[in-house]
C-alpha cells in the first residue's frame, strides 16, 4: 500500500518481541522496552546472565512498570498468604504463571543471590509454583514479591488460592495403600507358588507355615488398603443405595473369612493371593481415575480474579484494605490496569473500563462522573476515584455466586453406567449365591457354604469396577492431547449424554481480540501517515488495530491530541485536523447501523470513509453448527444483536439466539432448558457465564490460554480445538459403548467362574488365574479400543 520501508526490525534480547533497533540498547543488546532492559540490568548486575544462555528470549514482555504490592505489608493479609511463619522464618508458596522454561527454573532458584535474606527457593515446574523460605527480619514478603516482579516473574496472588489447597492428602494416602497392597500381593504370590505346583509329602509342614504367613499378609490388605470399600459400602447401605462398593466389600470380606477359616483349620490354602490381587488392582484403578491437572484450576470464581486488597482513601491518606472488609461508603483508588472490585460510583478521573473478563467484549467503555461502574471491569486509563455502593459479595456480578446453583452440592447430576448396573448386579449376585447355598445346603451343608462363598468370590466385579476407570482415563488423555481438559473422568460420561449445546458469543465463538479490519475508503500515502500517527498515540484496541492494519509507517508530529472515551480521537497532524472515531464524534448526531463496529475518518472536515470491524468467528463454527439436528444449538449472548444476521447461518432460527442476556438470565435460560428434560452443555468464557456454566449439566470454559483466568467449570477447552468439538462429542459416545462392551467381557468371565463356583468346587488356583486374567483383558481391551476409536475420530 505504501512504498516506505522503515529500518529492519530486531528482536528484544529479553522477551523476543519484535522491536525497533536502538530504542533501548544496553551492552550491544536490543530491548523492546524499559522494562525488559531493567530486568537485564538487574540480572547482569548480579552476574546472572546465564539466564539468557539456556534459552533464547526467556523473559516476558514488560509493558507495565509500576508495582503495587503495598497490601503485602498488612499483617492480616500476610497471615492468610504465608504457609508458615515464626519469629524469623517465613515460608510462602507463590503461583507464577510465567514459569515456562529451564531459564525460569534456573533464575528463580538463584533468588538468594539477589538478597541474602532469602534462604531457599524451589520451583515446581509443572505446577508453576515457587516455594520461598526467607528471613522476614531481613526481607519482607513485599520485598520478595517486588524482587520477583523486578526480574520479570510476577506472582499471581489472589484470595482464592485453590491451587494451593488442591487435594493432596487424598492422593498421597491412596499411593500408600497401593504400596501396601502391592507389597503384600507380591509376597503372597511368591509364597503361593509351592501350593500351585504341589508339595511333596515331606514338605507338608511348609504348607501350614506358608498359610500362616499368607494370612498375616492379608491383614494389612484388608484392614488398611481395603478399608475404604467397607466404609463406603456401609455408608451407601445406610442411604439405601447399592453401589459397586457393596459387592466388592462383600467379595473382600468373604475371601478373607474363608482364607482365615481354611488356614486355621488346615483344610486348604485359602485365597490370599486372589484377595491381595483384587485389592491391589482395584486401588490401581482408583489411582488411574484420579488424574489431575496441576496447572489448571476448575474451581475458580470471582475471588481468584479479583485482587487481594484495594487502595482506599481516608482523610487524604492512601491505605490498602482487604476486599472482605470493603463497605459501602469507602472511597477507593483504582489505578491503571487495576480491577474494580465492587459496584461503585465514579467520583474523579477519566474512566475507560475494559469489561473483557466480564462480558468478553474487548473494547473499553468510557464512563462519566457520577455513573455506576459494575465490579469486574479493568481500568485502562489513568487513576480514578470511586465510592463503593455495594460490598464485594453483593455486587451486580458477584451476587451471581449467591445463587442456589453455587451452593447446591452437585455430586448426583447424572447417574453413571456403573451406578445403574451395579444395583442389578448386586441383587442378581446375592440371589445366585443364596440359591447355590440352598441347592446344596439340604444335602451337604459344607458344600453349600463352599458354593455360597465361591460365588461371592468369583463374581466379585473386579473387572467391572476397573472397566470404567481405565476407559475413562484413556479417553481423558485423548482429550488432553487435543487440548480439551476435563475435570475428572465422570465428565466423559456426562459429555456422552448431552443433547443440547448453548454457546456464549463473545470470546467463545468469536476469538477475543482478532477482528477483521476492513477499510472502506481511498486514502493516499499522506493521509495514511496522518491517521497512523494519530492512532499510534492511543492505547484503545481499535486504534491499535488500525495501526496494525497500516503496518509500520513514518510517525508525524501530533499536536492538540484529545481522546474522548467511547467516541474517538481528535488531533492535529501536519497542519490538518483529524477526527477519527464514532459517528457521534464526527457528525454530532449519527445513527450507527448495527451490523458492525465502525470507525469513521475525517480530515479537515472532509469525510473519507470508515474502518469496519467485524467479529471473526472461531474456526470450526461450521462443523459445530452441523451438529444440528442431532444436537440442539442455542446462542446466549450478553451483547446486543448487531450480529444477528451473520450468526443466523449457524443457528436454526432466531428463536435459538438470545441477546442482551444478563448473567442471571443466562443461568435461568439453562434451568429452563433443563426443565424441558434436556441435558445441556454450556460453553462460555467470561465471569458472566459462570452461573450458566454452573447450572448446566456440563459447563465448558473456552479459553485461548489455559493458564489464564477461566471461570469455574467442568472442563476447559482451548480455543484452538474448538473445531474438534463434534469429534469430542462423538468420541465420548464411543467411550460409553466401550464401557458397555467391557462390561460384557467381564460378565463372560463371571459366567465361567460361576459355573465352577456353583458346584462348590472352586480351587484357589482357578480363582487366582481368573481374576488377574479378566483384569488384564479388560485393561488391554479398553486401552486398545479407546485408541482405535480416537484414531477413527481423528483425535489421535
Amino acid at each position: 500500500m505504501t512504498g516506505i520501508l522503515t529500518a529492519v526490525k530486531t528482536n528484544c534480547y529479553h522477551c523476543g518481541d519484535e522491536c525497533e533497533p536502538n530504542l533501548y540498547p544496553a551492552d550491544n543488546k536490543q530491548f523492546c522496552c524499559q522494562g525488559c532492559e531493567n530486568v537485564y540490568q538487574i540480572l547482569s548486575g548480579s552476574g546472572l546472565c546465564s539466564y539468557y544462555q539456556y534459552n533464547d528470549h526467556p523473559g516476558a514482555t514488560r509493558d507495565k512498570l509500576n508495582k503495587r504490592f503495598e497490601y503485602l505489608d498488612e499483617q492480616s493479609i500476610l497471615n492468610e498468604l504465608l504457609d508458615f511463619h515464626d519469629e524469623r522464618i517465613s515460608i510462602i508458596t507463590l503461583y507464577i504463571p510465567h514459569i515456562h522454561c529451564s531459564s525460569c527454573l534456573w533464575l528463580l532458584e538463584q533468588l538468594n543471590r539477589f538478597n541474602p535474606g532469602i534462604h531457599y527457593a524451589r520451583v515446581d515446574f509443572l505446577k508453576k509454583r515457587l516455594v520461598v523460605r526467607f528471613d522476614h527480619q531481613k526481607i519482607s514478603l513485599r520485598g520478595v514479591v517486588e524482587l520477583l516482579f523486578d526480574i520479570g516473574y510476577e506472582p499471581l496472588i489472589s484470595l482464592q488460592d485453590i491451587i494451593k489447597k488442591q487435594q493432596r492428602t487424598e492422593k498421597g494416602n491412596l499411593v500408600q495403600r497401593i504400596a501396601v497392597a502391592g507389597f503384600c500381593f507380591g509376597n503372597v504370590m511368591l509364597l503361593s507358588f509351592p501350593e500351585y505346583f504341589g508339595l511333596s509329602g515331606f514338605e507338608q509342614n511348609f504348607r501350614h507355615f506358608f498359610g500362616y504367613i499368607n494370612l498375616a499378609f492379608t491383614l494389612p490388605v484388608v484392614f488398611f488398603s481395603g478399608r475404604e470399600y467397607f466404609t463406603s459400602a456401609w455408608n451407601n447401605l445406610k442411604k439405601k443405595v447399592l453401589n459397586i462398593d457393596f459387592p466388592l466389600a462383600l467379595g473382600i470380606a468373604v475371601l478373607f473369612i474363608r482364607t482365615t477359616a481354611e488356614v486355621l483349620t488346615h483344610t486348604g490354602a485359602g485365597f490370599a493371593d486372589t484377595l491381595c490381587g483384587l485389592v491391589f488392582f482395584l486401588l490401581f484403578g482408583k489411582f488411574v481415575q484420579q488424574k489431575t491437572y496441576h496447572h489448571i484450576s476448575f474451581e475458580r470464581d470471582y475471588r481468584s480474579f479479583f485482587p487481594v486488597a484495594v487502595q482506599t482513601l481516608e482523610n487524604g491518606m492512601e491505605k490498602p484494605l482487604p476486599l472482605a472488609v470493603l463497605r459501602p461508603g469507602h472511597r477507593i483508588l483504582i489505578r491503571h490496569n487495576e480491577i474494580i472490585p465492587a459496584d461503585a460510583i465514579l467520583l474523579k478521573g477519566p474512566a475507560l473500563i475494559d469489561f473483557s473478563f466480564v462480558t468478553g467484549e474487548s473494547v473499553p467503555v468510557g464512563k462519566t462522573l457520577g455513573e455506576i461502574i459494575y465490579a469486574g471491569g479493568r481500568q485502562t486509563s489513568e487513576s480514578i476515584e470511586l465510592e463503593v455502593i455495594k460490598p464485594v459479595s453483593q455486587s451486580y456480578l458477584t451476587q451471581l455466586w449467591n445463587n442456589e446453583a453455587f451452593t447446591r452440592k452437585r455430586d448426583n447430576r447424572m447417574r453413571t453406567f456403573n451406578e445403574t448396573v451395579s444395583k442389578y448386579f448386586t441383587v442378581i449376585l446375592i440371589v445366585i449365591a443364596f440359591s447355590a447355598l440352598l441347592a446344596w445346603g439340604f444335602t451337604d451343608l459344607r458344600r453349600g457354604i463352599d458354593a455360597f462363598t465361591a460365588v461371592l468370590i468369583v463374581a466379585c466385579p473386579c473387572a467391572l469396577a476397573l472397566s470404567t476407570p481405565f476407559t475413562m482415563s484413556a479417553a481423558l488423555s485423548i482429550f488432553d492431547r487435543n487440548l480439551f481438559y476435563l475435570k475428572n473422568t465422570s465428565v466423559v460420561e456426562q459429555l456422552a449424554k448431552i443433547d443440547t449445546l448453548v454457546l456464549d458469543k463473545t470470546g467463545t465463538i468469536t476469538t477475543g481480540n482478532t477482528r477483521n479490519a476492513e477499510l472502506q475508503s481511498q486514502l493516499n500515502d499522506d493521509q495514511i501517515r496522518q491517521i497512523y500517527s494519530a492512532c499510534a498515540n492511543s492505547m484503545h484496541p481499535l486504534s491499535r488495530m488500525i495501526c496494525r492494519y497500516f503496518g509500520e509507517q513514518e510517525r508525524l508530529p501530533v499536536s492538540d491530541y484529545t481522546e474522548t472515551p467511547g467516541q474517538g480521537i481528535t488531533a492535529r497532524v501536519k497542519g490538518s485536523e483529524l477526527r477519527i472515531g464514532s459517528g457521534k464524534l464526527l457528525f454530532g448526531n449519527y445513527h450507527e447501523t448495527a451490523d458492525m463496529t465502525r470507525v469513521h475518518l475525517m480530515i479537515d472536515g472532509e469525510y473519507l470513509g470508515y474502518f469496519g470491524f467485524k467479529h471473526e468467528y472461531r474456526e470450526g463454527m461450521e462443523q459445530v453448527s452441523a451438529l444440528e439436528p442431532e444436537y440442539q444449538l442455542y446462542l446466549l449472548s450478553g451483547d446486543q444483536d448487531q450480529e444477528r444476521r451473520e450468526l443466523l447461518r449457524y443457528f436454526r432460527d432466531s428463536s435459538h439466539m438470545r441477546f442482551g442476556q444478563s448473567p442471571q438470565q443466562k443461568l435461568d435460560f439453562i434451568a429452563e432448558l433443563q426443565q424441558q428434560g434436556k441435558k445441556v452443555m454450556m460453553l462460555g468464557d467470561g465471569l458472566n457465564d459462570s452461573g450458566a456454566l454452573r447450572q448446566s449439566d456440563l459447563g465448558v470454559a473456552v479459553t485461548d490460554n489455559v493458564n489464564n483466568f477461566s471461570p469455574g467449570s467442568d472442563a476447559i477447552l482451548d480455543g484452538r480445538s474448538f473445531d474438534k468439538l463434534p469429534a469430542f462429542l462423538r468420541f465420548s459416545k464411543d467411550t460409553v459403548v466401550i464401557i458397555h462392551l467391557s462390561f460384557l467381557i467381564s460378565l463372560t468371565y463371571n459366567m465361567i467362574g460361576l459355573s465352577y463356583a456353583v458346584t462348590g468346587k472352586l480351587s484357589p488356583l482357578i480363582a487366582a488365574v481368573l481374576m488377574p486374567l479378566s483384569t488384564a483383558t479388560i485393561i488391554s481391551f479398553t486401552t486398545l479400543a479407546t485408541h482405535f476409536t480416537a484414531k477413527r475420530r481423528k483425535l489421535l
Partner: protein
C-alpha cells in the same frame, strides 16, 4: 530345608525395610514433584565469584 524359615523371614524383613523407605519418601514429599529435577540436573552449578558464564558464551 529348615533354612527356608530363615530365608523367608529375612526376605520379608528386607522387603519391609523397602516398604518403610517408600513410606518415608512419600511422607516427606519426595515424590510430589517428579518433573522439575529432570530439568534441574541439566543446569550448571556456578559460583557467583567465578565468572564462568563468560566461558559458556559461544
Amino acid at each position: 530345608m529348615s533354612i527356608i524359615y530363615f530365608l523367608i523371614g529375612s526376605s520379608v524383613l528386607l522387603a519391609l525395610v523397602f516398604l518403610g523407605a517408600f513410606f518415608w519418601a512419600q511422607r516427606t514429599g519426595q515424590n510430589d514433584d517428579l518433573y522439575t529435577p529432570s530439568m534441574r540436573i541439566l543446569l550448571e552449578d556456578e559460583q557467583p565469584e567465578e565468572k564462568k558464564s563468560d566461558r559458556n558464551q559461544i
